[in-house]
């Protein structure tokens, strides 16, 4: 009878352990913090290494009722989207580990609005926060600098911090005790380079999460998937500049896809809209969990529930 020896890799590297949020003891007001990273093997291979912290889910809430969200999403959340504080509370109840506060582009967007909105969310929930600007470099700088000041000491993750604006965002994080979400367009070397540039400014690597950019299912997901696998392999092989935990945004990307947004004029073979839309986000997120995501920013409560169930199952040895 053959005896099979289970093949194990001997990895020399380890993903960095990073803690989001700060409680009163550390100068913040969060009732709990969230720690991610620390893996010494590929995702969920418990027979080979340690997975000390499970991947976590951030639920996205926006500073005002989203004008362009799929009705499937708006129906799921109902009236809470009218008020960001109520929404943040509902997100916490829906099982969020982290609240992802996203500012959108509108005429009332100003540093004051940014401050007030952040304050409301900080008061409404005790969870750590990831904060995203509207996604346009100048506006992002304006919003995120105000957010950094208002949330001083909260150890927020400020995003997105890209090649073109990282100096401003990193300076704000340094000045007010925050972290950054370092995003690069699906490229291993660019990710490394941005981590180097940011840490060269004096922000410790323990305060950087790495965002390899997410493609939705059907819209380039496999590119991000493979870049993440390569980054994680490099991290385990000991490349210190790729050892940041990874943040991905399957919610935003999946709900941008026509499959999730639209009911009209689509092929019959696409099936039931609500079912398809939730599956679109769920499968985008779950596939990225397999490739090493540590923080998933998601939108639909049902997708969150399913991905959470998957992660729980993968963590049970």
């Amino acid at each position: 009878m053959p005896t099979i020896e289970v093949p194990k890799e001997k990895w020399s590297g380890k993903v960095r352990e990073i803690t989001l949020g700060a409680t009163a003891a550390d100068g913040g007001t969060r009732t709990k913090t969230v720690t991610v990273g620390g893996e010494t093997t590929l995702p969920f291979l418990h027979f080979e290494g340690e997975i000390p912290h499970q991947p976590v889910i951030a639920i996205e809430v926006q500073d005002r009722r989203p004008a362009d969200w799929s009705p499937v999403l708006l129906e799921a959340w109902g009236d809470v989207t009218d008020d960001v504080a109520t929404w943040a509370k509902a997100a916490e109840e829906a099982g969020a580990d982290i609240i992802a506060l996203k500012y959108t582009q509108h005429e009332d967007l100003s540093p004051d609005h940014a401050r007030q909105t952040l304050r409301k969310v900080l008061d409404a929930t005790g969870l750590p926060l990831v904060v995203f600007g509207p996604g346009q470099a100048e506006l992002d700088n304006e919003v995120l600098v105000a957010v950094a000041e208002e949330g001083k000491g909260e150890n927020l993750v400020l995003g997105v911090c890209e090649d073109k604006n990282y100096r401003t965002i990193v300076a704000a994080a340094l000045a007010h005790g925050h972290m950054v979400d370092a995003r690069c367009p699906m490229d291993v070397n660019l990710s490394k380079q941005l981590n180097i540039l940011i840490s060269d400014m004096g922000l410790p690597l323990e305060r950087i999460v790495m965002d390899p950019t997410t493609g939705a299912l059907g819209y380039g997901m496999e590119y991000g998937y493979s870049v993440m696998e390569r980054l994680r392999l490099a991290a385990l092989q000991g490349d210190g500049m790729t050892q940041q935990p990874m943040l991905v945004t399957p919610g935003e990307e999946a709900w941008r896809a026509k499959e999730a947004r639209t009911e009209e004029g689509v092929p019959e073979a696409w099936g039931d809209w609500g079912e398809r839309a939730v599956n679109w986000e769920t499968l985008t997120a779950s596939t990225l969990v397999e490739s090493g995501a540590d923080i998933l920013v998601m939108r639909h409560p049902e997708s969150v529930k399913r991905v959470r169930a998957m992660i729980d199952a993968l963590m049970s040895e």
Partner: protein
């Protein structure tokens, strides 16, 4: 594991210890000047071993074994529909590519009155994704105390795809195999208790056979596979008996590593996985090393995302899917209709083209050669800049087909506007929406 040229050389006549064979060293009868030169060509798969008339039997079997793929290719088929799985060479798709996407099968039971209807729906289901026709691959018929043979016959009649026969009772399984005559079905499963009878069936009916153990016990699995192989069944599929996320991922990863990195022949076969009614688990099994995935149910709103997921993971990362650069006419455009530019990455092209097409608005779509990258990636890589866009405007001669000189560029590259106005001084540059999905509305407002 393939042998190197030098390792092969040690097995050829020039290296033989037998004088009767050794005397043919460098005889040139193979068409190469020396045994070493022939060995090198064999190593590069540019020559056939049969070209050497003097190679010893022992060497021959070693060489043939080394040429076998580390994960055996398994074929199931019916009515001309053929599915091949296995023959994979890497653990991560970026290392090369994944070659054979796992077959997705929907399970019906022989106690289920609508088994044939489900099978028919599965057989008829097809969905277009970036020009590819995505379909499921077959039906798994489960013996559950009903009339197995009759159900298999009805399913085979209703659906032209290959079958998996789920029964570990040899008599029931044989009834199924008889009913499935004319197809190459997969038989599940030989267990440590029934393997002799099941192996005989698989050999008699010439079908691949699943070997099944409980709880991911790889020693028993390898032993059972060897036993079945000893009984004359070469086409084997593995069911290590794990159904949950964590042990499924661990055990399937171990099996893939054993086959590829340890060259462990006793488990060098594709894996069959059971996802129940959980598309997320099915997704894990697709990405992580299954050859067959069996689902309990069929619903388009779940199957379509899963088929796309599989297509994505099994896309060859070495060659981005591209469309041909040039001018694409959508909805029969006239000289006064809008001109839009995008890149030649297939997913980008299809997203944009689909939106314009479904809006019913006629338009000209200029596809620039961006080396198969999406708009943002190409822009970041310098493959979709003002110069390249201007070049494609000029080289396609699109201006002659229009009575206007307005060009709509993707919103994501709005920054190119200034440079483009310099490159194309005669043209008015308009910034379109960032996402294709917003194009119809943009066109209605801006062009309507």
């Amino acid at each position: 594991m393939a042998l190197s040229g030098l390792e092969i050389y040690k097995l050829l006549p020039a290296s033989s210890k037998n004088p009767e064979v050794k005397k043919h060293a460098n005889c040139k009868e193979c068409g190469f000047p020396t045994c070493l030169a022939f060995a090198m060509k064999l190593g590069q798969k540019q020559a056939e071993l049969s070209q050497c008339p003097y190679v010893e039997e022992e060497s021959k079997s070693k060489l043939e074994a080394s040429a076998a793929p580390p994960i055996r290719l398994i074929t199931v088929s019916a009515d001309g529909h053929k599915l091949e799985v296995g023959n994979e060479t890497v653990l991560f798709r970026h290392e090369k590519t994944f070659y054979h996407q796992p077959g997705l099968f929907v399970r019906v039971k022989d106690t289920q009155s609508d088994a044939a209807e489900v099978a028919k729906a599965v057989g008829e289901y097809a969905v277009d994704y970036v020009g590819m026709d995505l379909t499921l691959d077959g039906i798994a018929v489960a013996a559950d105390g009903g009339d197995f043979g009759a159900t298999v016959a009805a399913v085979k009649e209703a659906c032209p795809f290959p079958l998996i026969l789920l029964s570990d009772d040899p008599a029931t399984a044989e009834a199924g195999l008889k009913a499935a005559a004319g197809t190459q079905s997969l038989l599940w499963a030989a267990t440590p208790d029934n393997w002799e009878a099941m192996a005989k069936l698989a050999a008699d009916y010439k079908v691949p056979l699943v070997v099944r153990v409980d709880g991911g016990d790889l020693d028993s699995l390898a032993a059972l596979a060897e036993q079945v192989k000893g009984a004359g069944v070469e086409d084997i599929v593995l069911d290590p008996g794990v159904r949950d996320y964590a042990s499924g991922l661990a055990v399937f990863t171990q099996l893939r590593r054993l086959a590829l990195k340890k060259n462990e022949r006793s488990v060098g076969y594709p894996i069959i996985a059971f996802a129940g009614d959980d598309p997320v688990l099915a997704g894990q099994q697709v990405a992580k090393y299954s050859g067959f995935v069996v689902l309990d149910g069929f619903s388009p709103g779940t199957i379509y995302p899963l088929l796309v997921m599989r297509a994505n993971i099994f896309t060859d990362p070495q060659k981005p899917i591209q469309v041909k650069p040039g001018v694409y006419e959508i909805n029969n455009p006239q000289p006064g209709d809008p001109l839009m530019v995008t890149t030649n990455f297939s997913i980008t092209y299809f997203s944009v083209a689909n939106e314009i097409e479904s809006s019913g608005i006629p338009g000209w779509l200029l596809v620039a050669d961006a080396e198969g990258m999406s708009v943002l990636t190409a822009w970041a890589a310098g493959k979709f800049d003002a110069e390249r866009i201007a070049k494609s405007v000029k080289s396609t001669g699109i201006a002659e087909k229009l009575n206007h000189q307005r060009l709509i560029i993707p919103g994501h590259v709005a920054v190119l506007m200034g440079e483009l106005e310099e490159e194309l001084p005669e043209w008015e540059i308009n910034v379109g929406p960032r996402e294709a999905v917003d194009l119809p509305n943009f066109l209605k407002v801006q062009w309507g």
